[in-house]
C-alpha cells in the first residue's frame, strides 16, 4: 500500500511543492494527488445563502408564516427544474442573534414579555432546540441542537445570550427529505451554568464538522 498524504495540521507548502515536483513523473503516485483544502465554515454558510434569501433578522418577511409560540418561519426553495440524482446534501445551520449579546433593558423587557405570554415566570434558562430527522428512514435522528439560548446571570441581573453561530450536519446522499422540529424549553431551576453545560455537551458530541456521510 503506498504511503498517503494525510492532511492534518499545518501543511508545509515548501514540502508540498517538492513532493509535487518529485511525484510529477508518476501519474498515480499518491503524492501527486491534489490536496483538497479544508473548507472553512464561512464558505458553507455562503453556499447556503443564495441571492434573494431574506435577511435572518428581517423585520418583515412576506413569505413568513406563524407557527405559534412566537415561532415564525419561511421556506427556502431550489430553482424549478433542479435535479438531485447522485448528489449529497448537508444541512448548514446558521444562527443570528438580532439583539446585543447582553440584553438591553428594552430587550430584556421584550424577552420577559414573551416568556410571560408563554406562561413562563422566573425562567433561568430558555433554550431553542432544533431536531432534524430523515423523512425516508424511521428511527435515527441527529442529536438535538441548541442554536441559541438565554441564561440568567444573577450577578448582572440580566439574560446572557448564547448562540451557536454555525453547524454543518454530515453529508448524506440526497434521496430523502428532512423533518425539522423547532422548539423552546425553559427551566426555572437552573442558571447560566446549565446553559453553558448544555451548549458545551451538545457541541462536543456533534463534533467539529464531520467530513463525510
Amino acid at each position: 500500500m503506498p504511503k498517503r498524504i494525510y492532511i492534518q495540521g499545518i501543511v508545509s507548502w515548501t514540502a508540498y511543492l517538492l513532493l509535487l515536483l518529485f511525484a510529477s513523473e508518476a501519474p498515480f503516485a499518491e503524492a501527486a494527488l491534489p490536496l483538497i483544502p479544508v473548507v472553512p465554515d464561512s464558505l458553507y454558510a455562503e453556499a447556503a445563502n443564495l441571492p434573494g434569501d431574506p435577511d435572518l433578522c428581517a423585520k418583515a418577511d412576506p413569505n413568513e408564516q406563524s407557527l405559534g409560540g412566537f415561532v415564525y418561519y419561511s421556506k427556502l426553495s431550489f430553482p424549478q427544474g433542479a435535479k438531485f440524482n447522485d448528489l449529497y446534501s448537508r444541512l448548514v445551520i446558521t444562527t443570528k442573534i438580532c439583539t446585543p449579546d447582553t440584553l438591553s433593558s428594552n430587550d430584556r423587557t421584550a424577552l420577559r414579555k414573551v416568556l410571560n405570554t408563554l406562561a413562563i415566570t422566573d425562567a433561568k434558562t430558555f433554550l431553542a432546540t432544533l431536531d432534524v430527522t430523515f423523512t425516508a428512514a424511521a428511527g435515527p435522528k441527529f442529536p438535538s441542537l441548541v442554536p441559541f439560548s438565554y441564561a440568567f446571570d444573577e450577578s448582572k441581573n440580566t439574560y446572557i445570550v448564547q448562540e451557536e453561530i454555525q453547524r454543518n450536519l454530515p453529508w448524506q446522499t440526497t434521496d430523502h427529505g428532512y423533518s425539522l422540529t423547532f422548539a423552546y424549553s425553559a427551566n426555572k431551576q437552573t442558571s447560566i451554568v446549565t446553559g453553558k453545560l448544555a451548549s458545551g455537551i451538545i457541541s462536543k458530541i456533534v463534533g467539529a464538522n464531520p467530513t463525510t456521510a
Binding site: P27, I36, L56, A58, F78, Y88, A110, L118, L130, P147
Partner: protein, 200 residues
C-alpha cells in the same frame, strides 16, 4: 440511504442528549413546531425560523439550508453536472464522523471483501475476484453512503493500490469494476479520469 456511519453518529448523540435532558432540561417544553423539507418533490431548500417578541421584532433567527455537492472530493458544488477532476481526489483518506473514527480506508480495511480484493493474485479465480469487487462496491454505497461518483473513485484507488490488478490478466479481464449495476470504469471516463496501467 443513511450510512451506517451516520446512524452510529446519531445514536451516540441521542444517548447523550437523553442524559442532558434528564439533568438539565427537565422543565416543560413550551413550544414545538414541525416543518418538513421535501427536497426532491417540493424543491424545499431550507427554512428560516425566527423568534419574535410581542411587538413582532426578531430577537433571534435560525436558518437551516441545504448545500449540495456531487462528490465529497469537491465539497461544494451547487450543480447537478458530473464532477470533473484532473487527478484522483484522496477519497479514501476522508475522515468519517461519529464513533467510526479514522479514514474511510481505515474502516473498509476491516471488510472481508476489501481484503480479498487487495490480496488477489494470479491464482485468484476471475469470478471470485469480480464477486468480491461487487460486494465491496455495495459496502461503499450502502454502508458508507458514497454516491456513484465517489464509489467509482474509491474503487479505482483501491484497484490501483492492489499492485496485482494491472499485471494479472485473470484480474484485469474479470468483471471487477465493470458491472453496470454498480459504478464502473465508465463513470471515471465521464469524470475526465483515466483508468489504465500506471507508468512504471
Amino acid at each position: 440511504l443513511i450510512s451506517q456511519t451516520t446512524s452510529n453518529f446519531l445514536n451516540v448523540g441521542a444517548d447523550i442528549i437523553d442524559q442532558v435532558a434528564a439533568t438539565a432540561l427537565t422543565d416543560k417544553n413550551v413550544s414545538s413546531s414541525l416543518v418538513s423539507l421535501d427536497i426532491t418533490t417540493d424543491l424545499d431548500r431550507g427554512a428560516i425560523f425566527r423568534f419574535r417578541d410581542t411587538d413582532n421584532r426578531p430577537l433571534a433567527a435560525v436558518k437551516v439550508a441545504l448545500v449540495l455537492t456531487n462528490s465529497l472530493g469537491k465539497l461544494i458544488a451547487n450543480q447537478t453536472e458530473i464532477p470533473q477532476f484532473t487527478n484522483y481526489p484522496p477519497i479514501l483518506d476522508f475522515l468519517l464522523s461519529g464513533p467510526l473514527s479514522g479514514t474511510l480506508e481505515d474502516n473498509i480495511a476491516k471488510d472481508t471483501n476489501y481484503k480479498d480484493v487487495i490480496k488477489a493474485n494470479k491464482e485468484t479465480k476471475s469470478s471470485d475476484f469480480a464477486q468480491s469487487c461487487d460486494n465491496l462496491q455495495a459496502t461503499l454505497r450502502n454502508i458508507y453512503g458514497l454516491n456513484r461518483y465517489d464509489e467509482s473513485l474509491a474503487m479505482a484507488l483501491i484497484l490501483y493500490s492492489t499492485q496485482a490488478y494491472f499485471s494479472n490478466d485473470n484480474l484485469s479481464t474479470s468483471q471487477c469494476f465493470k458491472n453496470p449495476a454498480f459504478a464502473n470504469v465508465q463513470d471515471l471516463k465521464k469524470m475526465g479520469l483515466d483508468f489504465k496501467k500506471p507508468v512504471p
